[in-house]
Symmetry: C2
Subunit: 230 residues, 2 copies
């Protein structure tokens, strides 16, 4: 059964404009068809379409809400996008499949990419949520300067860099019910200045294992480590 | 400094034919240049080129061997390749970056891809080994029928499938100094018949977490879980 994102009002689900178009034009659903609905906030429903046209699809809710199990931590990954866009895109897809709450993109000194189409990232995120049968859509933030991103609040603030440093290991952290933020740098790594700036506002260096990981692998490794250790 | 794969004979390193071509024609190295050398078996060296032409590059070893730390487990992943070739290719790249010992490809009942260019996979593997500064090249096996693949010996034999079953969790396994083999199925999952065949020869069902993962994500999740838990 097809899955769509909708705003829920009592017993009615209004598919978003884009989802309505997709529902009617691409998947050719019609009134009377049963669909799966998610609200993007953690709840899913079974519904029956009562209106279906390219501008607006509306469904009656016939079962639900069913709530997705919440993770017992909040993970915010802030990563410098890679030069090759497909590398960061697959990372996002996989991170969502495995479980993440918020994604930010950073402009660093050594960044090889400083622009990113957030609409496109948002679509990848939503598609991965639906594909992996989840109901919560992670928050996606536009690309921002490093100095602004490190101002974000979190209970546990980590920076993954490749310089020699006194590094924590993810597996040694107590992160239950905590908001965690992890910074992952660009292909050329964070500069020493950036590392110092982050440390000055409470970020602790963290190790991601013994091998040298690409940016996108480091991002996914982080997401997956918390998923495994929880 | 560039990294090349070579056969080591005493104090001499003979770059493979392909690496010689790459060294001379693409990277335009010449006699006298210093290079990094790996033997693919876990040792790396520093060398100085004494002969450089498109057919054969030879270096004198000036430092080494340096040995890569061995993992304390042997991981053999057997996976059904995905319909979209780039999905399985990135999985291989990431698995190598994070750490794997052997990769097999399976033809299953529900496989959407039954052919795979192993030469191309081998190149991806070698490139990821060099990029992540490792010295050990994982073994890559050609694609094989499911019934043959499950005949492979291992200390811990696992099958990741999506049916309801009494499943182990990776994190509960004792895998130190063990040879582990994990089967990951195609987009349409293993059939009940295949699951039964595998169980009959000692494979135990294993869970890869709460969300539904794509084939390639499941493969990488497995590789990464062992890396994190070791």
């Amino acid at each position: 059964m097809n899955v769509f994102i909708a705003h829920i009002n009592g017993h009615t689900a209004n598919l978003t404009a884009e989802e309505s178009w997709h529902c009617y034009k691409v998947l050719r659903c019609k009134a009377g068809d049963q669909i799966h609905i998610i609200d993007g906030l953690g709840a899913s429903y079974k519904g029956e379409l009562i209106t279906a046209n390219e501008k607006q699809c509306v469904a009656n809710i016939i079962e639900g809400p069913f709530y997705q199990n919440k993770r017992n931590y909040y993970l915010h990954l802030a990563i410098a996008p890679t030069k090759q866009i497909d590398r960061i895109e697959w990372m996002i897809e996989k991170a969502v499949e495995i479980g993440i709450d918020e994604i930010s993109f950073i402009k660093c000194k050594n960044s090889e990419r400083v622009n990113l189409k957030i609409d496109r990232i948002q679509k990848i995120v939503e598609s991965a949520v639906k594909q992996s049968k989840q109901a919560f859509i992670p928050k996606v933030n536009p690309i921002e300067e490093f100095k602004n991103v490190i101002g974000t609040s979190a209970d546990i603030k980590l920076i993954a860099h490749c310089e020699h440093d006194n590094k924590l290991r993810l597996r040694d952290l107590e992160f239950k019910n905590k908001k965690i933020m992890v910074l992952v740098g660009p292909e050329g790594d964070f500069t020493m200045d950036e590392i110092q700036m982050a440390k000055a506002v409470g970020f602790k260096p963290v190790s991601l294992g013994d091998t040298r990981l690409r940016t996108e692998t480091a991002g996914l490794y982080t997401v997956q480590t918390f998923a495994i250790l929880t």
